[in-house]
Amino acid sequence: MSTPPAAHRLRPLPAGPRGILIDCGTTAAARACYRSLQSRRMSGLLEASDLVPGATTVLVDGVDEPELLAAELPGWPLADEPDTAGEAVEIPVCYDGPDLEAVAALWGVRPDDVADIHSGIEYEAAFCGFSPGFAYLEGLPERYRVPRRDSPRTRVPAGSLGIAGPYTGVYPRTSPGGWQLIATMTNPGRLWNEHREPAALLVPGTRVRFAAVRV
C-alpha cells in the first residue's frame, strides 16, 4: 500500500476566471484529492460545475471564488486509504488483437502468455477522457509498458482493448487510435449506456478485471 500523499503537495494553478487545476504530484494523490472534492461537493461544502480528474491532477471548473478554494487546499487532509469498497467490474475479453504478437515480443513472452499476464492484474480507472465510456486503467507493472504504435490506426473497432504506457483502455466506439491492440471486449455496448446511471461502466475509481474468453 502506498504511503498517504502529503497534503502540502497539492498545488493550485489558475485555470481561467472560474477554474483551478490542482496539481497533486502523483496519481495516488490525484485520486485521493478527487475523492475528497467529490465528497465535499456532495455534502455542499464545494460548489463547482465540473470535477475532472487527470493523471496527476484534478480540474475544478465553474467555481464562483477560486481564490477561496485555493487558499484552503494546502491544509486539506486527504483520504489516505484507497477506496476499495465494492466488487471489481469483470470484463470478458478475447485476447485476439492485431498487435498481440508485437506486444508479446516487447514483453519477451509467447503470444499465449499475454492473456495470462494481462488478465492476472487488477486495474483501476484513474480517469476518463478521449471519448464517453473510455477510461484510462492503471495497474500494468512498469516492465509491461509499451509505447504507442508509430502510426495510429485510422479505424479501431469498438471493443478493442489497447495498451500504451502505464494504461489499458477499451475503445467504446469505433474511432481512430494509436494504442497497441491485444484483445477484444465481447460486449462493448456495456461501456456506455445513456439510459443507465452512471452512463459509463468505468467511472474514475472503478476496479477492473479482465476475464479471458475463447471464441
Binding site: 465540473d50 478521449f130 465510456g133
Partner: protein, 296 residues
C-alpha cells in the same frame, strides 16, 4: 403535426441548448450553444424559458418549414430573414403560419445565427440535453435536409412585442480577448508571454465547435520534448500543441488533453470566439496569474 422541417441545413446546422455540463469526469464535453448570450436572448424574445433548444447555423444560415403556427426569432450573427420570400425582421419575433417557409440567409458578419422557436425544439436528448456534440457524437446528429424536429408546447409567456430594442452584441472581425494566464505558463519560455501581448493570430479555416485553430507567432515551450500527463481542460482554454500554434477550445472541447494550456478566456470571450470567422484576427490581453498561485 407539431414540428419543423429542415429544408436546407447550410454548412452545418445543429440543435443546441445549455449543453451537458457536469459530466467532464466521464469524458463528456459540455457542448451547448457556442454563442451563449445570443442563444439566450433569442429564446427570451421568443418567450421561451431559459435553456430551450434552438437551431445553431454556421456561416450560411438554413431554411425551415413550420408545420404549425409558431413564433421564431433569428438572432446571433445578423442575416437576411425571409418568410415565403418576403423580407422579415432579424432579431425580432416573427410569426410563422403553419406551412410557411423561413429562410435565414448567410451571416453578414460572424458565423452562427440562432433560430429560437416558441415552445423550443425537442429532438433526441442524451444526458439531459438536446445538444449535438461534434466531438463525442452525443445528442442528435447534425441536421440533414428533410429532417423534422418536434416542437414543444407553446410557452406560457407570450413572445415580447416586436420592435423591443434587443441588446444584441456587436460582432466584428477583430477580437481582443482577456487571457487569464495559467495553468501551465511555466511550460513556456518568457518570450511566449511577450508574444501573447503583441502578437496577432488569424482564425484558420480548420476551426469548428471543438475549437478555433489560430495561425500566428509560435508560442515556444521551454522543453518541447517533455510530455504532460493528460489533465482536465477548462472551458475557454488556449492549448498549445508542439508546433506552437494555439487552439482556443470551444463548446465541444475534449475534457482532457496532453498539451499545456497557457491561458484561459472567460465566458464573454468564449461567446465572441464562437462568432470569429476564418480569416478574422484575434489579439490577447494577458492577465497575470493571481497572487495565490505564486504562494504554492
Amino acid at each position: 403535426m407539431s414540428h419543423i422541417e429542415i429544408l436546407r441545413t447550410g454548412v452545418l446546422t445543429t440543435c443546441q441548448d445549455a449543453g451537458r455540463p457536469g459530466w467532464g469526469h466521464l469524458a463528456v464535453p459540455p457542448s451547448g450553444a457556442a454563442d451563449r448570450p445570443s442563444w439566450r436572448l433569442a429564446n427570451q424574445l421568443a418567450g421561451n424559458p431559459t435553456g430551450a433548444c434552438a437551431l445553431e447555423t454556421t456561416l450560411n444560415g438554413c431554411t425551415v418549414r413550420a408545420h404549425r403556427d409558431v413564433t421564431v426569432v433569428v438572432g446571433g450573427a445578423p442575416c437576411a430573414v425571409t418568410v415565403d420570400g418576403r423580407p422579415e425582421s432579424w432579431g425580432q419575433p416573427v410569426k410563422l403560419q403553419a406551412g410557411s417557409v423561413l429562410d435565414a440567409g448567410p451571416a453578414e458578419v460572424g458565423v452562427r445565427s440562432y433560430l429560437a422557436f416558441s415552445g423550443g425544439l425537442h429532438p433526441k436528448s442524451s444526458l439531459g440535453s438536446h445538444s449535438t456534440c461534434l466531438l463525442s457524437g452525443l445528442g442528435p446528429a447534425p441536421l440533414k435536409d428533410g429532417d423534422t424536429i418536434p416542437l414543444g408546447p407553446a410557452p406560457a409567456h407570450p413572445p415580447l412585442p416586436t420592435q423591443w430594442p434587443a441588446p444584441w452584441a456587436g460582432i466584428g472581425d477583430e477580437f481582443v480577448m482577456k487571457l487569464h494566464l495559467g495553468p501551465r505558463l511555466e511550460w513556456f519560455r518568457p518570450e511566449a508571454v511577450a508574444e501573447l501581448t503583441r502578437g496577432v493570430w488569424t482564425v484558420s479555416e480548420h476551426s469548428n465547435r471543438i475549437g478555433l485553430r489560430l495561425e500566428g507567432p509560435a508560442l515556444a515551450r521551454t522543453d518541447a520534448s517533455l510530455e504532460l500527463p493528460s489533465e482536465g481542460i477548462a472551458a475557454g482554454a488556449l492549448q498549445v500543441p508542439p508546433n506552437g500554434q494555439p487552439i482556443l477550445f470551444g463548446a465541444d472541447h475534449p475534457t482532457t488533453g496532453g498539451y499545456p494550456v497557457i491561458g484561459v478566456v472567460g465566458p464573454e470571450a468564449q461567446a465572441a470566439a464562437a462568432q470569429a470567422r476564418p480569416g478574422s484576427r484575434i489579439r490577447f490581453v494577458p492577465i497575470p496569474m493571481p497572487h495565490w498561485s505564486k504562494r504554492a
